[in-house]
Amino acid sequence: MNERIGVYVCECGPNIPDRIDIDKVLEEISSMENVAVVKKFGLLCSNDGKKFLEDEIKQENISRLVVAACSPREHEKTFMQVCRKAGLNPYLFQLVNIREQCAWMIPDKAEATRMAIKYIRAGISRVALHNPLVKKELEANPDVLVIGGGVAGMEASLSLAGKNRKVYLVERTESLGGMTNKLSQILPHQGTDLSTIQEKIEKIQSHENIEVFTDHEVEDVRGFLGNFEVTIKNVKEEESTTNFLAGAVVVATGFDLWSSKDMAAYGYGEIDNVINSVEFEKMAASDEIQLKNGKPPQSIALIHCVGRKEKGYCSKVCCLYSIKFAHQLKDKLPKADVHEFYSDLCIPEKKDQDYFEAVKDKGVHFIWSDEIKIKKKEGKILVEYQDSNQKKESVEVDMAVLAPAMVPAEGSKQLAEILNIPLDETGFFKETHSMLEPVSTSIEGIFIAGCASGPKNIPESIVQSQAASGKILSSLIPGKKLEPEVKVSQINEKFCTGCQTCLTVCCYGAISFDEFKGVSVVNEAICRGCGSCVGSCPSGAIFAKHFTYSQLYQEVLEALS
């Protein structure tokens, strides 16, 4: 090998020379094979230091660079930039950490010096085997598939559609609007009224860059970020399918309400005038709040938390919409007695408590209750419960409105399989990171927004779809190519036995199986370089670029010698 390896040891101020005998280090490493230049410098990350390195690379014809300094987390990017500027491939570089890993942890100077020498020699033998990796560029389609035409899906469509970006909005029912079609009104402090939503529907239907497919479902999605191939089918004519390409996907499939079969314990479907929230919304919307016998109710029970214990989570919106129902009841039937049965009042947004106080002022009774049982009693409804002092109590009412838990929309499991994205233990779609990445999934280019990822209210669903749009708008720019990860896995076909173990460990969908050749293939555009497949391969057919067996082996061998 005719390499000219340049090794530069940074003093990092007093940090390193105080604890490591730098001159001894320089002496020990200059004798290594292919090492052409060995120098020390005060502070390599300073502007002077960077200029010095750049000049050295050019003047000394350095073909591979080793810098012994601080942690790669601090300055690997900095020195890779220097390499680029000097015309040296930035992957023909190794940063050896002799600060955090030697100077700052080994109190004995002789020992720290010995370790520093070992680390640097290991780094030198590694860099000798580096390959000049090159960034690739990938064409990307900027169009977006939005699955679900409710509030979240509509918001995403309007945010994304534009002159150079088309949106395909796929909705499985016959109309847009989702759950809002079943509402009588939104909470007053969250929306002026439902006309805002109607306006959005009209805007979408007349938008020249949004193609709406109602009565359609997604049948198949193949590909990856920037290059998805989508097949959708007409639910009324199953043979009728449509295909198109898209660069990203937004899953906005919403939610369902806890099913009626499980609610029999609350008298739903068994006792007259026990209805659920959607049925009440319908009555309120048509201004006909009536019992089965056509008369208006004189006493109503609003039962919160139906399914909270059973499902193990709080659905967030029910306290507020039950308060909305109470407001509506008191406004339309001022003489009616309204009782709200709750386990906790979940009213976390800044204007929610005012809304609650206002309904209390209207004379609505709030009863903390546990162990609710709903029974029939002589044409009326008996709500039995245990109060906060554990005393058994009951209230007789004409009508009971149940607020059931929000559950994942029907078909979520199948859709998750089609898209290869995970569901979490509650059955909702799983976000990449519950704190930092609330709208991303493990598949790059597929986003989730709204109740598809868990119970939330309308403004939050809107924020999430705008956030997903923000992510797409900032990364999938019309005309701009994508630069996928460089340090990816690669499969050596000669050694692949076709066992497909690697497919089972890849959580990014980056490996596929070539049936014809009988081998696995890595899609370098989506591989994130995590290395899981490398470790899983029983034949040793997979290696990770920049972390090959020979690179790692030589490094360790030198360090242990």
């Binding site: 502070l43 947004e349 930092l436 956030a467 923000g470 992510k471 900032s474």
Partner: protein, 424 residues
């Protein structure tokens, strides 16, 4: 006029998220931060719910990305003084205080701290520890470059005009006493407000007995107590250094007075219990609450696990703390059984989130409204939660109202989407 630069006020999680997304789209971002470091309030926590993951580990990579991204111009110790113009053509005047330490030359070796003769209460540590007049607020601060507090520095406050001990200790020529405050005019296309929140001052509610020397801690003080980079290196000790055996955590402090539920306190109070039991396994813990607010698919499980570990949750509307003696007495209404008392070595108060100090002034500078709770007002009622009534000005995160980290981050992303549509 279509200026594509964006001004972001506040470098907490929301501000950093927005900066990185916009810079990733190729836009230039001017990130203005009042403090000498970035990270906001999240870096004060040791762990976050519900996964009890290390907060600083979670945020540090974002901080590093922000620091290393050349498309994001950072202004520390800076505030917005005035804003003129309109969407696509704003002129923002930034007032930048001098740091007196060069960001380019300083490597964070900390050699200047020890020789400094002046100290002050460390605001980051909620007054639980002191620091020198030259320093960073906490270990692991990013950027790891100190600033000089001119109020306490002997040279700057006139008590010892010739003191230059820090400069003498510096080997990198990083300290410059002649640095001046600056006024910088920026031309931007959009403004994003992500200035965060404060917590209610518990001195305003004497019924909780908070006072100097007492073993009553605010939520933030407790966060610093359990932080491994905090004043006690994560050991839970009382003011006299002994270990508490019984702890009362009081939720809803200020809920009635402020008129809203802050949404995050039930969860972080449960987090405190988890942590306390981890450090003091035989501790007796009682949490006093009016409601338990644990919305969403993952929070209730965490609360139930806390109960399973033996933490008692008492529902009560009426709580007071008597701190006359060393042993604190938490007096509460126990349903219809009358008044009851819980004796505690330590009491933690979970206070309401309130608008950040300076919100009134900033609202006037920006020309945007505040709501009746003092937070910045947005078009929430028009189903556009991150837009203000002024085109081109957005508000995200706790500046808009109490919320948790994922919601702040989602709002930041939403504003980015709106800005990208506005600007392009």
């Amino acid at each position: 006029m279509n200026n594509k630069d964006v001004l972001i006020l506040g470098a907490g999680v929301a501000g950093m998220e927005a900066s990185l997304l916009l810079a990733g789209a190729g836009l230039k971002v001017h990130l203005v931060e009042k403090d000498s470091i970035i990270g906001g309030q999240t870096i004060k926590f040791e762990e976050v719910y519900p996964n009890m993951e290390c907060s600083t580990c979670m945020v540090a990579p974002k901080q590093q990305e922000v620091l290393q991204n050349d498309n994001i111009v950072k202004y520390y110790l800076s505030e917005l003084e005035s804003l003129e113009g309109s969407a696509g053509a704003f002129t923002a005047r930034i007032k930048k205080k001098a740091r007196y330490v060069s960001l380019a030359n300083c490597i964070g070796c900390e050699a200047c701290y020890e020789p400094c003769p002046a100290s002050l209460d460390n605001e980051f540590e909620e007054g639980l520890a002191a620091r020198k007049a030259i320093g960073v607020p906490c270990a692991g601060a990013l950027p790891n470059v100190p600033a000089i507090n001119t109020e306490h520095c002997l040279r700057f406050n006139g008590k010892d005009k010739n003191c230059k001990k820090c400069q003498e200790a510096c080997m990198f020529d990083a300290i410059n006493f002649d640095e001046k405050d600056e006024t910088i005019d920026l031309k931007v296309g959009a403004v994003l407000v992500a200035t965060g929140f404060d917590l209610l001052d518990v001195n305003k509610l004497p019924k909780y007995g908070y006072g100097k020397g007492k073993n009553i801690y605010t939520a933030m003080e407790f966060e610093r107590l359990f932080a491994s980079n905090g004043p006690t290196s994560g050991e839970i000790t009382l003011r006299d250094k002994s270990t508490p055996k019984s702890i009362g955590i009081i939720h809803c402090v200020g809920r009635k007075e402020q008129g809203y539920c802050s949404g995050v306190c039930c969860m972080y109070s449960a987090k405190f219990s988890h942590f306390l039991l981890h450090k003091i396994p035989d501790a007796k813990i009682c949490e006093f609450h009016s409601d338990i607010c644990v919305p969403g698919k993952s929070y209730q499980k965490f609360y139930e696990e806390t109960r399973k570990k033996g933490v008692e949750f008492i529902r009560t509307d009426n709580v007071e703390v008597n701190s006359e003696n060393k042993k604190l007495k938490v007096n509460y209404q126990n349903g219809n059984k009358g008044k009851d008392v819980f004796e505690a070595d330590m009491v933690i108060l979970s206070q309401a989130m309130i608008p950040k100090k300076g919100t009134d002034t900033l609202a006037k500078v920006l020309g945007i409204k505040q709501d009746n709770k003092g937070f910045f007002s947005t078009q929430y009622g028009n189903l556009s939660p991150v837009e203000t009534e002024v085109e081109g000005i957005f508000v995200v995160g706790c500046a808009e109202g109490p919320k948790d980290i994922p919601e702040s981050i989602a709002q930041a992303g939403a504003a980015v989407g709106k800005i990208l549509n506005l600007i392009s």
